[in-house]
Amino acid sequence: MDNPRPTHVDLAQSFHDSGVRDVLRELDKTLIGLEPVKSRIRETAALLLVDQARRQMGLATETPTLHMSFTGNPGTGKTTVALKMADLLHRLGYVRKGHLVTVTRDDLVGQYIGHTAPKTKEVLKKAMGGVLFIDEAYYLYRPENERDYGQEAIEILLQVMENNRDDLVVILAGYSDRMDRFFGSNPGFRSRIAHHIEFPDYSDPELLHIAENMLAVQNYRLDDGARMAMEHYIAARRTQPHFANARSVRNALDRARLRQANRLFNEGNGPIDADRLSLIAEADIRASRVFRGGLDMDKIDGDRLDVRAANRQAAAQ
């Protein structure tokens, strides 16, 4: 039954045949920046290819540990990379289906005694044959409450990560400092995770590039003024609280599209061509409250609302 073992392997050939090259190329093309992440993924892919070849020749028998942790600030592309990683592992034959199951604490931890174990197992079963992505994994462990059910979920996770290594790959994701604390208090996790990948923040030019890519996908474009405004926007937004890298950019663009639609509607004279429909102008971006001191504006607005509510109450009495 056994196929005779090959006497030599062509790594370049298997690199090409497995489709890994396509995934890596796509990764390079669609992900902007993130150089350390890309190089780590290339290394991992190389390791897996070599391992595959070693297995074909009968040199390796154990499945390598593929569990990973992605740490980085919000909006640095952790989920996107996880999706690509699932694809990559699938093409290399390390997971059978290559689907990604994204969960957070709520999906794993139950609300009463005896609820957690079935819930966690259900999720793990769903992820088998694919990749389980646990976002903000540090929430699983709550040291301030020793009866927290998170601990139970962690134990089951660890057990399955160890015993069913062939069946699923677990990726933990979260902010760097909190993940460090999480691993510190759960040494079992640290030792079972072979690949720790750190996601750096994007630089301003990278974010601008990302913004243009996002718009291009939706058939929008920025004119020169708008591009300048976007540059200023990114620089200003970075200094304000709750900055979430690419996610902030996406939200900004969503609001810019809203303003653009509103502007076109209000101008509303004569026919509008495709070019005008897909052009985001400087004014659409400059109108953002980020240029007027940022989110604190909300608070002022909120206070004003409070005053109004108080007035209304006074009037009613």
């Binding site: 059978r96 079963k125 769903k126 044959g129 069913n164």
Partner: protein, 139 residues
């Protein structure tokens, strides 16, 4: 006497890998796979105890093998089967059913004769194991 019920029952016992391949076939066809166990081997005992819920949305059969081994830990001395339910209109029934675990010793069935009016004899079978109360039937 080895119990011959469901698919593959005349073959040697299925390995975990065999179970995985069969369950994957069911999943690929869109059938919900579930694990059941019993200690009453009577052929007309169609409703076995459910081990967990049917797995409606697991794309990979590793989950089935996982549940089978979990079930074995708890009910290793009983019969365990894997069934695949087809919910599509017109079927709404079991498409696959095969035993994946059996007790160490299977005492088999005895023939019971009942004398009826006019020298009529009614026949039925009874498992020797089923004479013991539930839970005490197999070692």
């Amino acid at each position: 006497m080895k119990l011959r019920q469901g698919q593959f029952s005349f073959l040697p016992d299925l390995s975990d890998d065999d179970i995985r391949v069969q369950a994957q076939y069911a999943i690929d066809n869109g059938w919900a796979v579930s694990v059941e166990y019993t200690d009453d081997p009577h052929p007309r005992n169609t409703y076995w105890e459910m081990w967990g819920h049917p797995m409606f949305d697991n794309p990979d059969a590793a989950a089935v093998v996982f549940e089978v081994s979990e079930c074995r830990k708890e009910h290793g001395g009983k019969y365990i089967r894997v069934i695949a339910f087809d919910a599509s209109p017109g079927w709404e029934s079991i498409r696959m059913s095969f035993i994946v675990n059996r007790p160490a010793t299977e005492p088999g069935f005895r023939l019971v004769r009942q004398e009826d009016a006019g020298r009529v004899v009614r026949y039925t079978i009874e498992s020797y194991a089923a004479r013991e109360p539930e839970g005490a039937r197999y070692a």
